[in-house]
Amino acid sequence: MTDSSSITTPAADVFPTQPPEKGMFISLGPQHPSTHGVLRVAITVDGEQVTSAQPDIGYLHRATEKLAEKRTYPQIIVLTDRLDYLAAMTNNWAYCLTVEKMMATPIPERAEYLRIIVGELQRVASHCVFLGTYGLDVGAFTPFVVAFGRERERILDLFEEMCGARLTYNYIRIGGVMADAPDGWEGHVRAFVKEMWGHVDEYDKLLTYNPIFVDRTKNIGLITAETAIAWGMTGANLRATGYRADVRRDDPYGLYSRMKFELPLGKQGDCWDRFAVRVSEIRESLKIIDQALDQIQPGETMAKLPKYFRVPAGEGYTHIEAPRGDLGFYIISDGSPSPYRMHIRAPSFLNLQVLQQMLKGWKVADVIAILGSIDIVLGEVDR
């Protein structure tokens, strides 16, 4: 139970390739059900205590940044779908916002509202996956069946109705959205939101205040706001430390300045706080969807753009609040049809690197609880 609180330079414990002189070496992954993809964590333990942990990534590296240099701007949207594959809508959104900012394209109001609705639905769906799989990590099976198998499926059905795809949407386009919502879609979303309020209370009963779950997660994997910021942590993980930070609030994009919502905050930044913050965030997302449905008006969904366009030379950076944190795209354009260089500021990548400090000093049994609670997607870590 040492502190992960003080800000220190990462200690000089290089990647262990030899068994340590004292204690034992454990290789967690790359194929392990609780690593949520292909991640390896090389852990050395002394008895039950973790003495060092080094995440080993790159198993899912697909060179998205290099691929982007060879494709035209609209063709890159499909590449962004494959970064954080549990939240493809927000990836599309962040990329399109950056290109639109560089071209100074005005977006029709209806498209902005549709973006908010699908973006928040995506946040709910993504958090549902987290609730389900985190339950599995600590030994509860029901939340997985309920949150992942029931509610998330409903959201994917709504997306399928909207754009035909269930996972990689390519729905948000440069200048607006691919197509208007089909007839009756808004009613379906309203019905789902109404129903979802009850389901969130159900998650609270199943997990949040379940004594076994609380024992596994409360006071485990503590991190302070100061450490979290220094290591680049963002999103729900940072808010769980009690720090008020949200791109939707600090640097509003789209029409978020018109929306009223709270920022759920944790108290001490332990695993339970990270979980509870995400459950509360589902409620706030539902509020935002309701407001957007109230305010949305019929109209155009796509800006008038030429079929073949060029982005003016220069550079641009835009970030949004994705379900996993602060997602940004930094694009350098030389005026040609494809970007000269594109860099993706992936929230999971930065959230994961703090693991080497967070795991130190905790028991082996807590490793999975801590790793699961920071909610990573390896598609985004490796890009």
Partner: protein
Amino acid sequence: MTPPELLAAVQARFSNVMEIPKSAVQTRGAELYLSVPPASILQVCQFLRSDPPLSFNSLSFLTSIDWKTHFEVVYYLTSTLHKHNLVLKAKLENRMAPELPSVTTVWPAADWQEREEFDLMGIRFTGHYNLRRLLLPDDWEGHPLRKDYVAKPDRYD
């Protein structure tokens, strides 16, 4: 702080830090862009982080660009306290051996980001405690994000 105030605060301490002016034909964000000599990047970053009115406590991202004649390392800094942003750019003229000091002692967030740039762009960050390849296998040859990188066909091509 507004960009002119930021510029004044930095230049009062470091006279060799220059603003990169926005050219009329190029698109760019509203942030202040500063050009920093690579040798003094560590001192500038330490100052930016520790000076109370500036307190850039977060390195939002770090990346690099291959301009064919030289490399450029980009630091995007954010202060979560004062909500201001700053972009630092360091130009590395020596294309054969691009090298500059690591900022992991200022922001631990630079740890993996510097390793990624070392891996994919081949820039050495001196003083990094564990500068090894991050995403690619250890025995990989070359740095794929460089513009002159030629992919070797493997058995899948």
